[in-house]
Structures are given as C-alpha cells and as structure tokens.
C-alpha cells in the first residue's frame, strides 16, 4: 500500500532493478524459472537461489520482505527436507539407520534439491512482481502480445484488491464492535464465524463491480474493439528499451544458454 492509499504490488520504488525495463525482468523470470525446472544439480540450484538474493538485495528490496518470504518458505522446505529422505531414500550410501528407516546421501541430496528449487523459483517470481509498478508490468505483457482486456483484468484486479481490503477492514471492525471473534474455537467454528463477514464483503464487492463497469463504459471501454469503428489505443506513459536494458537482457539470455549447455553436457 502506498502513501496515496492505492494498493500496489511493488515494494521497491527506486534503484537499478526498479529502473530496468519490465520486459527484461519478465525475460529474467522466464529464463530462471525454466532453469529451476530443468536443473537437478544441488550446486547449480544453490547458485540460482544465490543469484536471486543478490539481485533482490542490490535492487533495493528491503531485508524485511526477503525475510518474510524466507519465513513462508522455511516450513515448506523443512517438510520436504524431512519427508523426501524418509520416503524416497534412493540408492546411494546409507548415512544412518534407525530400525527399518534408512537415510541415504542421495535421499538427502534429492530433498535438498527440491527445497532449493522451490526457494529459487519463489524469489525469481518476486523479481518482476515486487520491483515493477502494475501499470508498467501490464504494458510489458501487452508488448509481448497480451490482449488489452486481459491486461486490464490484471490492473483492475490489483486496484479492486486494495478496495476490497479496505471494505474487509470496515466490515470486520463493524462486526467486532458487536462482539464478533474468529480467533476462538476449532476450525469449523472459526469458518462459521467468518460467514456473516464473508457474505457482506461479497455483496459490497459486487456493488463495486457495478460502479466499476459504469466507469469503464463512461470512459468508452470496448469502443476500440468495435469492428464497425476500430480505434487504435494510445498510451500516455509508454515503456522504451534503453541500451542498458538490452545489455542486461543479453547477459540474461547468455547465462541461460550457457546453463542449458552445461545441463545437457
């Protein structure tokens, strides 16, 4: 949430990563996610993860945000590290054995590779999302060929999310003054207690959609697609690739190609 009250995804608003053309960041995310999927080597995956940390830290993402993401991932990775060697011991040398349970080196390495892969993929996806304003991200998608209405869904959803958050706060505060509490009882009781708020939130959101559609219609949305009178859509703040963007894009593609060659051989 910015100071203007408009909900945005990006928490970074300055620095080299913020200034980089969003298309370059999407190319980076695409290449790194492919590498996350095809790479199985623990050292390679560790390098991928390390590269995302360096990029995000030098790009100005607050340590707190990185820490929050690690906190979310930690539980997931821990479970994988425990479950994988236990149930998929592999054929390598046994590290230790308790009764019938064997922990092998290959099982541990497999669990480690899955954990590293998940962390690397999570941080890779955060690079374009947390360092690019939504409107520039949408322009990048459009430049890659995404139809305008699809890009609009993304932008409107981000803005609507901010409004829905405010609605949720207002409704929950109103309910709390009447003694509403979802922190007590088992899961079923808590879900049941959430229902009145949920219905009120949904109805308020539906009313939001009604006024949103009026706003869109009033601004001529859909006219450009009218076959009988086609119009070309204009852009006030367009995005342009600078020389530095081309250099960074070239480095990313070269690193990606080199990694693929290394994986294949």
């Amino acid at each position: 949430m910015t100071q203007t009250g408009v909900f945005t995804l990006n928490t970074v608003e300055s620095g080299w990563l913020y200034r980089l053309d969003p298309r370059v960041k999407l190319i980076f995310a695409f290449c790194w996610l492919i590498l996350c999927i095809v790479m199985s080597n623990v050292a390679g995956l560790a390098v991928l993860l390390l590269s995302t940390q360096v990029i995000l830290l030098t790009g100005g993402l607050p340590l707190k945000k990185i820490g929050e993401t690690w906190k979310t991932l930690a539980f997931l990775i821990l479970i994988i590290l425990i479950v994988q060697p236990l149930f998929s011991p592999g054929s390598g040398p046994v590290m230790f054995q308790v009764g019938t349970i064997q922990i092998s080196q290959s099982g541990v390495l497999l669990g480690l590779s899955y954990g590293l892969r998940i962390a690397a993929a999570a941080f890779t996806a955060l690079v374009p999302v947390l360092t690019t304003p939504a409107d520039r991200l949408v322009l990048a998608f459009q430049k890659f060929g995404m139809p305008y209405p699809w890009a609009m869904i993304f932008v409107l959803a981000i803005h609507a999310l901010g409004t829905i958050r405010r609605l949720y706060t207002t409704i929950t505060e109103a309910q709390q003054t009447r003694g509403w509490d979802t922190s007590k009882g088992n899961v079923i009781k808590r879900v049941k207690a959430t229902f009145p708020t949920l219905i009120a939130l949904i109805v308020a959101s539906l009313r939001l959609s009604d006024s949103l559609s009026l706003g869109l219609a009033a601004r001529g949305f859909g006219i450009a697609s009218n076959a009988s009178a086609p119009r070309r859509r204009t852009i006030l703040h367009d995005i342009h690739m600078q020389p530095v963007d081309w250099y960074v894009a070239a480095i990313i593609v070269l690193a990606f190609a080199a990694s693929i060659i290394l994986i294949v051989h």
């Binding site: 994988i80 994988q84 955060l126 999302v129 609009m152 609507a160 229902f195 949103l212 559609s213 869109l216």
Partner: protein, 176 residues
C-alpha cells in the same frame, strides 16, 4: 450469454471476482500440519462460476489463486494453482451456471473438489519442481480438507443470491 471481455460489465465482474479470490486466498483460516493452508479462496471460485459462468470461473480461479501464491511466497505453486483452480472454476461453472439448482450446485462442488485434489496430486507428482510423488501423496489429505471448505461455495452462492437478487445480472448487457 456470450463471454466478451470487451463488454465493460463482463470485464468489471471478472476483475472483481479475481481480486476477491486473490484476497480470500490470502486469508488463512488454519495452517495445516503439512505445507499448505486452508483458505477461503475456493468459496469465491465457486461463487464466480455459478453466478457468472465457466469463463469467469476459469479466470478468477486461475489468476486469483496464482497471484495470491506469488505474493504469499508460494510462487513456485503459482503455475499449478493457475491451471488447477482455473479448471476447477471452469468445470464447476460449466456444470451449474445455466441451471443452478441444488443438485447441479452439489455436483459442481464435488467435481470441482475432485479436480482440486487430483490436479494438485498429478502436478506435484509429475513436475519435478514440486517435490515428486512422495510429497504429492502427503499433500492429498490437506487438499481434500481444502476441497471440503471450498464446497461451502454452494452455500455461499445461495446466501449471496438471496441477499443480492441482481447477482446473476451483473455480467449481462443492460436492458434498454
């Protein structure tokens, strides 16, 4: 009703439903003992599918949960959520949108739940990034719990339709 995103009403309701799914996927009712969480997102996926049709269900379900995964730190699950929840929303809407009676609503949430559980299992088992068949199998009970909570979507749809009678007209062109 033809699905046309150039219609402002269709676009607005699709975007708002996407935002609702996104927001409610991030409301964690309970953390499961394994790697996931029980959330309210599925309830709105069914609501969108039953009230506005399979295409709104597909976009709101897929995009909403995918975006929630990305911003919640579960980014590696975003492509899987996009496909599984998108398909869940599409099929539920395909079953119950035209005739939303109790039988079809129930069938919609049952088939949608099966898609959710089997889709996540297949994705996690077959795609290396998710941990393989062992981790996928350990997730099944928790995805089943999630599918159970999602089934409340049919009840919520009925409640919202009663509280807001214009519900099913929101994505229709205005009558002049």
């Amino acid at each position: 009703m033809k699905f046309d995103l150039n219609n402002p009403r269709t676009l607005a309701i699709t975007a708002v439903m996407t935002a609702l799914v996104w927001g409610l996927t991030m409301v964690h009712v309970a953390i499961t003992p394994a790697v996931g969480y029980v959330h309210l997102g599925d309830i709105v996926i069914y609501l969108a599918s039953f009230a506005f049709g399979p295409w709104v269900g597909l976009i709101a379900g897929g995009l909403g949960t995918g975006l929630a995964d990305i911003v919640s730190g579960y980014a590696s699950f975003a492509p899987l959520s996009l496909v599984v929840h998108g398909l869940q929303g599409f099929v539920a809407g395909w079953i119950a949108y035209r005739k939303p009676n109790a039988g079809r609503l129930a069938l919609g949430v049952i088939i949608g739940g099966l898609i959710l559980v089997s889709g996540y299992f297949a994705g996690e088992a077959l795609i290396a990034i998710y941990g393989g068949p062992v981790v996928a199998a350990s997730e099944v009970p928790f995805n089943a719990v999630q599918a159970g909570f999602g089934a409340l979507g049919a009840v919520v749809y009925a409640a919202v339709a009663r509280a807001y009678p214009r519900l099913r007209q929101l994505n229709q062109p205005p009558q002049i």
